[in-house]
């Protein structure tokens, strides 16, 4: 079988992945990494076998991409296990440039295979669940890889920060939907309010996130010192509250914009028919307008959820916690593994949120054909 052009192009990074150091071995957490090639870790015959499998993967990428990627990830675990066997306890094996390049090439091959098949919403959800299950299984074998060692050293904190991250992203998302949709309905009906509301929300978007987080410290700090109730429910100048409010404010614009756009897109004939059926304005809104505008509103909600999951990372700078804690600690200690421990789960969460939400929108009755 002749591989397509894309597979041939991706063969280049895949070959480079095999030729570059697969892993880095460090005597301790902050020592300089000593490069380890695949053939050094596993012996020449095994390395040649892997290279042959890579050629097969390029030729039958549509079918082999998924198992090849899984095998590549498993290989990292095996290499790390071999390199640390019998060595000192604090020796670290981190994935090297070769591993990352190969993983990216295989992931792109898989993404192409999936894009070609154009899976429906249910199939996409199934793929996502399968990917999570496979990842959970593969990470079991990564016990000797540096990223997982960082995790093992702080797994209690990791899950606590994961919870805070989700609470921050999902909580502000829910708040923005609860406020944004009614606000959108309101300004769709009162044209005079549209300009000021949209103007304010757009202006908020231009303030960079770290500054908005910081600026909210002041009013919330004031609230905490002057309103006893506020302090009792945990509102303070630093921590979760300013991060929560900032994410909420950023989230309003896409939701309000899409609510207005969704309502405006309802054909006049439908609105007329609803009126003719004798529905009151309130009934019309609940039974006709909102259901028809739902796909567009949900698209806005998806943008916001994905954005919130990413932006919640910044909250760590003002003490709100979340995965950003590891990212900024890692940047501070120049510990790449710690950065990855914060960044990779954030990316995985944002990615999953996008897949799930997209599938839900497609599953809506009468949504995009």
């Amino acid at each position: 079988m002749i591989p397509n052009r894309l597979a041939l192009v991706l063969a280049v990074p895949l070959a480079a992945g095999l030729a570059l150091p697969f892993a880095g071995l460090r005597a301790n957490r902050i020592a300089a990494a000593e490069p380890v090639w695949l053939w050094q870790a596993l012996g020449a015959p095994a390395a040649i076998g892997i290279a042959l499998l890579a050629v097969l993967t390029v030729m039958w990428g549509r079918v082999l991409a998924a198992p090849a990627l899984a095998a590549w990830l498993a290989l990292m675990g095996v290499v790390a296990h071999r390199l640390t066997a019998g060595g000192p306890d604090f020796a670290r094996v981190s994935p090297g440039a070769g591993f990352w390049l190969g993983a990216v090439a295989l992931a792109l091959l898989l993404a192409d295979a999936l894009a070609q098949r154009r899976p429906g919403p249910v199939a996409r959800l199934t793929w996502l669940a399968a990917a999570w299950a496979a990842l959970a299984l593969l990470l079991q074998g990564w016990g000797h890889v540096s990223i997982l060692q960082e995790y093992a050293a702080r797994y209690m904190t990791f899950w606590a920060e994961a919870q805070r991250h989700l609470a921050l992203a999902l909580g502000s998302f829910a708040g923005a939907v609860l406020v944004g949709v009614p606000l959108g309905v309101l300004i769709q009906r009162r044209a005079g309010w549209r300009g000021p509301v949209m103007g304010t929300l757009t202006a908020i978007q231009t303030v960079p996130s770290i500054a908005l987080f910081g600026l909210l410290i002041l009013p919330l700090g004031w609230l905490a010192t002057h309103v006893p109730m506020a302090r009792a429910v945990g509102i303070g100048g630093i921590g979760m509250a300013p991060a929560f409010v900032a994410l909420f404010l950023y989230a309003l614009l896409p939701i309000v914009t899409n609510t207005v756009a969704g309502l405006r897109g309802i054909p006049a004939s439908v609105a007329e028919a609803a009126r003719g059926m004798g529905l009151s304005p309130r009934q019309r809104l609940a039974r006709v307008d909102i259901p028809l505008a739902l796909p567009v509103i949900l698209t806005g909600a998806r943008i916001v959820l994905v954005q919130n999951i990413g932006l919640a990372t910044i909250g760590a700078l003002i003490g709100a916690g979340g995965f950003g804690t590891f990212v900024f600690q890692g940047l501070g200690q120049t510990a790449p593994d710690l950065i990855l421990l914060g960044a990779l789960p954030t990316v995985a969460l944002a990615f999953s949120a996008q897949v799930v939400f997209d599938a839900l929108i497609d599953l809506l009755p009468g949504a995009r054909a």
């Binding site: 894309l6 202006a203 231009t206 500054a211 999951i309 990372t313 700078l317 940047l331 954030t346």
Partner: protein
């Protein structure tokens, strides 16, 4: 659209950059007692220029590469890459900017380069997406007419397709530039020079006057940048409306 609010904003920004002292009374209530009100560790004007330089340094190559890629995937030679590149632009945007920045640090170290790379990668997506959408959205009749006139594919691209796609492409560049202006502030976490430095200094020394001047300056620059693109865009549409002699 009214132009004077943007003009007033521009004057205010310039006044602040040249004579920040004039604005000290406004910001003083935010500064801790006795602390500095105006950022004094570097000149604000030079930080602003460095910030804009960072954005331009990433966005100019990103726009060129993204438009070229957008054209390429529409040609027969690049058709094999279209499905993958579309799903990549969709999912690439789920990548949080902080994560992109943080992930480039292990590769490139601290400083300007990881920020430039992150802004470059992040800037590709909206421009590419809009280029593809614009070229695919061209009315088939126009493309057909150009072919009927005997234009070569290259002439069709430069004289018909790209001029028609220009407004949407510009829109993508505007979106990407405004995002990268804001993302560049995070670059200061990895020691890139820019206005983020002022904000981070304010956060670490609990001086909200710094946070406010850095944040509002970036916000004002974002609004001005969007306005500047609107001006260019207006020019483009006027050109289209006037038939050429």
């Amino acid at each position: 659209m009214k132009r004077w609010p943007a003009a007033v904003l521009l004057v205010l920004v310039l006044a602040f950059l040249i004579r920040p002292g004039l604005f000290a009374p406004l910001l003083a209530p935010l500064a801790p007692g006795g602390g500095p009100v105006i950022y004094d560790r570097a000149n604000l004007l030079s930080l602003t220029l460095a910030h804009l330089g960072l954005v331009a340094g990433a966005m100019v190559p990103a726009s060129l590469v993204a438009v070229a890629l957008g054209v390429f995937v529409q040609r027969p030679a690049g058709a094999a890459f279209l499905p993958l590149s579309r799903s990549l632009t969709g999912f690439g945007q789920t990548f949080p900017p902080v994560a992109v920045l943080a992930l480039t640090v292990p590769v490139l170290g601290f400083g300007t380069w990881p920020t430039l790379l992150a802004l470059f990668l992040y800037g590709l997506l909206p421009v590419f997406e809009n280029t593809v959408a614009a070229l695919q959205g061209l009315p088939p009749s126009v493309v057909e007419a150009a072919r009927g006139m005997g234009l070569t594919p290259r002439q069709r691209l430069w004289q018909v397709e790209l001029p028609l796609a220009r407004p949407l492409i510009l829109d993508g560049i505007r979106t990407a530039s405004v995002i990268s202006l804001s993302t560049a502030t995070i670059g200061s976490v990895v020691a890139a020079r820019g206005l983020g430095e002022v904000i981070i200094a304010g956060l670490t020394s609990q001086n909200l006057a710094f946070v406010a001047q850095g944040g509002l300056l970036v916000a004002a620059l974002a609004i001005l940048l969007a306005q500047a693109f609107a001006l260019v865009g207006d020019g483009a549409s006027r050109n289209r409306a006037t038939p050429r002699a």
